[in-house]
Amino acid sequence: MADVILDIDSVGDDILAVLYGALHKKINLLGITTVNGACGSIEQAVNVALNTVELTGRNIPVYAGADKMLAPKMAGVDGDPVNFDEELRWKFGERLDKFNETVKKPEREAEKTHAVDYLIQAFNERPGEIILVTTGPVTNIALAVQKDPSIAGKVKEAYILGGAFQISGNITPVTEYNIWADPEAAKIVLNSDMKITLVPLDVCENNRYADGMMTRDHLAEMKYEGKGAIVDYIADKFPIYIDIWREFFQLGGFPMDDVITLALAVDPELCEYTEKVFVDVELEGDIARGQTVAYFGKQIVRNPKKEHKNTRIARSIDGKKFMDLFVKTIIGQ
C-alpha cells in the first residue's frame, strides 16, 4: 500500500480520481485537500470531494484549502473563458446541467484544519513516506512550502498534473489550465527541492494517446461487468463529459488527466519519462504567462539553476493498459 495525499479542484475527472484512489487496492488515501480551481468556489470543491468520498463508503478526511490564487488575475488581462459555456449550451441544451452541477449538501463535514496546515503536519510527521498527488492548481502546495520550506524534501514523491510541452495548451495556445490558473504557485513548487513527476497534456489530452481516454464503450463495459452505486453514478454523469471533450476539444474521449496522475503514484510504469530536468514557469509575458519551460540542455541558453534538476516529465503512456486498470478498479476486480 502506498500512502497518498490527494490535492484536487473537484471538477469532472477529479471525482474519478477520488473514486480510483478510494477503490484501488494499492492506494491508501490518507486525506484529500481541496483548492479553488476549474470548478469555481472552494465550497463546491469541498462538497464534491465529501459527496464523492461518501459514495465510496470510506472515511477519508477532506480539508478545505486555498480559495484564491497567490496572485489573483487582474480582470481584463487574461480574458474570461465566456465563450465556452455559451457554445456548449447551444450544442447540448439541458444535458449540460450534469456538467459541474451544484451538488447536494454532504452528510459529513470537512475537517477543521486548513489544507495547508494539514499538508505541513502530515509531511513533518512522516518524512519521506507519503506521496503527494495534485490534480488542480498547486496553490495549497506552494503555500505549504512557503510556510515550512522543509516539507519540500519530506514529500516522498510528488505527481503533479500540469503543463504542456510538445502539444498545444488547453486554455491558451501555450498553457495548460492548472499552471495558467496559478503560475506563481507552480513556480514555487517546481523551484523547490521536491522530487516531482510532471504529468503534462502531452500524455493526457493528446489524440496520439486516445486509447487512454474514457469513451461510452468504457461506460458500457462498467455497466455490463460491474454494478453498484459508483458504477451507476459514473454511467449517469459522464456521458456529457465525453461529449463535451469530443465535440469541443476534438479529443477521442474524455481525457483522464487527474486519474492518470494518481495512477502513476502506484503504477509508474504506465508512462515513459524524460530524464530529470529543471522546469520553470513564465510569470511575465503578454501571451505566454503560465507556460512551462523545460531545460533539456539542447539550447544555447542553459539551465540557469545549473544542478537543480528535480522534475521528470511523463512523455508517453500505455493508454489501453491504463483504461483497463481504471475499469477494473472501478468495478472492483
Binding site: 488547453n170 513564465e282 509575458g285 503578454d286 507556460q291 544555447i300
Partner: protein
C-alpha cells in the same frame, strides 16, 4: 507560360542562408530581384561580405546586395552564430574574394526601390531576424499591397533553439517579428517544427559531394561545418536545413503539411520572449471568443526524401 516568382531574400549568412540563396538561384521558378542583409548570425559587416561571396561563388554578380540593420529595433545585438557558424559566420569551405561591391543603397532603400519598380507582387523571404522587414512596414506600409506573401524561417510551435521556448531569428528581434506577424500579410512559417525534420544525414551528404560539380561540393562543405553543432550539441540525426526550408516552401508546397492559424510573438516574457505563439487549435476564439487573424501557414512536417532529392538536384543544376 511559366512565370517566375520574383523574390527578395533578407538574410544573415550563415551556412544555411548560403544554401537557401543557392537553392533559389538554381530554381527556374524563382527570380531573386535583390538580397538584403541583417545583423544576426554575425555582425552586419560579416554577413554582407558572406552574401557577396556566396553570390560570387555562384557567378551571379548581377544581383544587388544591400546592407541592412546593424542591430535589432530595441534590443542589443546578440550575435547568434558564433558557436554554430564560426567567427566569420561562414567558416569551413574556402570562399572566393568578393566579386562585386554592395549596393550604395541601404537595405531599406533597395527593398523600397525593388518593390516599387516591380510590375508583379514581390514575395519576401526573410531568413534572419526580421528587423529590415519590420522597418520597411513601419516606413512604407503602403508597399504591403505590392507584397504577395512572406516566407519566413523562424520560430517554432513547440520548441526553441536559443532558449527552450524561442528560436534565434525571432528571439533576436522579437519586436520586429511582432510587427511582421501582425502586418496583415499572409505568412508561411518554416519554424523548428519542420526544419528539424528537414535534415541531411552524413551518408546523404557524401552523395551530394559525389555529384562532383563545384556548387555541390561547396554545399557539402557547408553542411560539414554547419552540422557539427547539430550532431554534437543538439543530438540530431543530420544537418538541419533551417533557412533553405523557406525557399523549399515556395517551390514545393505539396511536400509539406501545415496548419493555417494565428501566430503572435511574445515580447514581454521572462523566459519566453521571442517565442512564436502558434494557436493551432484556435483557443483565442474558442475559449475567449476573440476574433483572430489566421495570419500564418505553419509548416509542421515534410516529405524528407523529396526535400533532399530536390535540394541535391538544385545543387547539381548550378554551374
Amino acid at each position: 507560360m511559366n512565370k517566375k516568382i520574383p523574390i527578395i531574400i533578407d538574410c544573415d549568412p550563415g551556412h544555411d542562408d548560403a544554401m537557401a540563396i543557392l537553392w533559389a538561384l538554381a530554381s527556374p521558378q524563382l527570380e531573386i530581384r535583390a538580397v538584403t542583409t541583417v545583423a544576426g548570425n554575425q555582425t552586419i559587416e560579416k554577413v554582407t561580405v558572406n552574401t557577396i561571396k556566396v553570390l560570387t561563388k555562384a557567378c551571379r554578380l548581377d544581383i544587388p546586395v544591400a546592407m541592412g540593420a546593424k542591430q535589432p529595433l530595441v534590443r542589443k545585438l546578440v550575435v547568434g552564430g558564433e558557436v554554430v557558424h564560426g567567427d566569420s559566420g561562414l567558416e569551413g569551405p574556402i570562399l572566393p574574394e568578393c566579386g562585386f561591391e554592395p549596393s550604395k543603397l541601404t537595405a531599406l532603400e533597395l527593398l523600397i526601390k525593388t518593390i516599387e519598380e516591380s510590375e508583379e507582387k514581390i514575395t519576401l523571404v526573410p531568413i534572419g531576424p526580421l528587423t529590415n522587414i519590420a522597418i520597411l512596414f513601419i516606413v512604407r506600409p503602403d508597399l504591403k499591397e505590392k507584397i504577395e506573401r512572406i516566407s519566413i524561417m523562424g520560430g517554432g510551435a513547440y520548441m526553441g533553439n536559443w532558449t527552450p521556448a524561442a528560436e534565434y531569428n525571432i528571439w533576436a528581434d522579437p519586436e520586429a517579428a511582432k510587427v511582421v506577424f501582425n502586418s496583415g500579410l499572409p505568412i508561411i512559417m518554416a519554424g523548428l517544427d519542420v526544419t528539424h525534420k528537414a535534415y541531411i544525414t552524413r551518408e546523404e551528404n557524401e552523395i551530394l559531394r559525389a555529384q562532383g560539380n563545384e556548387i555541390s561540393v561547396f554545399a557539402a562543405e557547408l553542411i560539414d561545418y554547419f552540422s557539427r553543432y547539430h550532431y554534437e550539441v543538439e543530438g540530431f540525426p543530420g544537418c538541419t536545413m533551417h533557412d533553405p526550408t523557406a525557399i523549399a516552401a515556395l517551390l514545393y508546397p505539396e511536400i509539406f503539411t501545415s496548419v493555417t492559424c494565428n501566430v503572435d510573438v511574445e515580447v514581454s516574457g521572462e523566459l519566453t520572449t521571442g517565442m512564436t505563439v502558434v494557436d493551432t487549435i484556435g483557443y483565442k476564439e474558442k475559449i475567449f471568443g476573440e476574433k483572430v487573424d489566421k495570419n500564418t501557414t505553419v509548416l509542421f512536417n515534410v516529405d524528407r526524401k523529396k526535400y533532399v532529392e530536390a535540394f541535391f538536384e538544385a545543387m547539381k543544376a548550378l554551374n
